[in-house]
Amino acid sequence: MVNLNVDIGKLTLKNPVMTASGTFGFGQEYEDFIDISRLGGILVKGITGKERQGNPYPRMAETPSGMLNAVGLQNKGIDYFVDHIYPEITKYDTEIIVNVNGGTIEEYIEVASKVDKLDKIHAIELNISCPNVKQGGMVFGTHCPSAIAVTKAVREAYSKSLMVKLSPNVTSIVEFALAVEEAGADSISLINTLLGMAIDAKTRKPRLSTVTGGLSGPAVKPVALRMVWQVAKAVKIPVIGMGGIMNAGDAIEFFLAGASAVQIGTANFINPAVTIEILEGIERYLESNGYDSIQDIIGALEC
């Protein structure tokens, strides 16, 4: 048996396979396909202070080896989550991590402080990188002073493990990583989606109602891997890697680049059982290469 435990800032996961926010609902959507309790953690769908309807249809466009989405944080708000979803999903034997969003710093604080009171939730992911909302989201994640301000404010409001999710839509990802580390993040997750667009040449119209949206899937993996490698070298806190992971081989590349854990996103849409297949594939890789622990390959890139 290989040891799959990983520490991600005040929090120990039984294994490094998590689901990415917005791709796994609240877990229940996948109950028929996998045993949710085998996962290291679930990042639940992004939550805001008030209910949000999200963006109009169409919100999705398929692209080569990927997809664009412009969902826009559709959710029922933090109070609904606390009253109705939290009691349901804490039955799973896995770490539930809440993806916290806001249009203003005050809204981020409101959501974070409400989640802080939930005993069975030990971490939040601060989303300063959603490309699909007009206010907040990526505005905070692409302007360094704003990223620092929101991280500091949420750090004060939230006592448990704070993961900050970075946007790849910046010139220097390392600058943002160092800034949020300094501002009090316990870990960093990256990458959120890359801003992109698609056009229907026949109608001369954009394929998304919002014109631009976030690109995910294997198309973004090389960019994600490069950013994870750069950030993992620069910061002292754990890094959680994501971006286009479709199989165990992809996940292992992220560990080698320095990620302590991974999040599986878009792949869940194509194969609802992919997370468990990846988990088993990681175990097989470690065993067949004679490693005792996942720790042996984290940051083990030889170059």
């Binding site: 769908k45 249809y57 080569p64 969902v71 194509i270």
Partner: protein, 258 residues
């Protein structure tokens, strides 16, 4: 009812015309019970430009022999690749997905299909005869006579009426101009419809004028088909944006913001 991911074996790929084909699939185990209007998310292999699964409504199901039929229209690179499948190959499905058509209050019903929208009408007709004891009355619309497909399968389970846009067979014009819908004295316990959105909107309007309840089957773009990605939403009057894949694809059009 449990949804599953499964490799099914292609028994037959029957080309119906230049646009349509039927894939008959066989499962190695007992298939789950499939309700009329449900769909499958189909994986397309060997087509690099096709990243996501394709939602395809279930055309027919045979629980005795564990067979499922999919009626597919070649619409893009994904469905074109599916058209190349041969007997003996396998096809990966996530199914059965979505809600289903509901039972009518009485036995006077009309099933209106256009284009690939005829697909869920076949399984619906079979189901209503077996489970609800209702003989379906079909109104099927086509552009022209040469595009009529597998009409004998519909005739085997109900009364079939045809409309063609060019009048080459049946009543000329869109289905809404067929006397079954254009007659102001008509009234139904339910009008079920699936087809192009413009057709379903016209039928929903007509159903409302005829004081008849109606159910439509939406074909929104989907990411996952299981309620996770929130991409296939439709705006409703009572609940705002809801997932077409899990709250639908069958909706009462009165509740849609159409």
């Amino acid at each position: 009812m449990k949804r599953r991911i499964e490799d099914l074996r292609v028994l037959e790929n029957r080309k119906l015309n230049e646009e349509f084909f039927v894939l008959q699939l066989e499962s190695g185990e007992d298939i789950p019970s499939i309700l009329p209007g449900q769909f499958a998310e189909v994986k397309v292999e060997g087509s690099p430009a096709t990243f996501l699964r394709r939602p395809i409504s279930i055309y027919d199901a045979d629980p005795v022999n564990n067979r499922i039929d999919l009626l597919i229209k070649i619409a893009g690179t994904g469905t074109k690749k599916l058209a190349e499948l041969e007997a003996g190959q396998s096809l990966n499905l996530v199914y059965p997905l979505g809600n289903h058509f509901s039972k009518p209050k009485g036995s006077k019903v009309l099933l209106v299909g256009g284009g690939t929208g005829v697909a869920p009408m076949l399984i619906l007709g079979r189901y209503m005869q077996a489970e609800w004891g209702i003989r379906p009355v079909y109104l099927l619309g086509y552009r022209s006579q040469h595009l009529i497909i597998e009409i004998e399968r519909f005739r085997a389970i109900g009364e079939v009426n045809i409309s063609t846009e060019d009048g080459s067979v049946g009543t000329k014009g869109f289905v809404t101009r067929n006397p079954l819908l254009s007659d102001d004295s008509a009234q139904y316990d339910m009008i079920y419809t699936c087809g192009p959105e413009v057709m379903m909107k016209a039928i929903a309007k007509r159903a409302s004028a005829l004081n008849s309840p109606c159910e439509v089957s939406l074909e929104n773009l989907m990411g996952c088909g299981i309620g996770a990605c929130l991409c296939c939403i439709v705006d409703t009057k009572d609940r705002g944006n809801v997932n077409t894949c899990t709250e639908g694809p069958i909706f009462n059009p009165e509740l849609l913001k159409w």
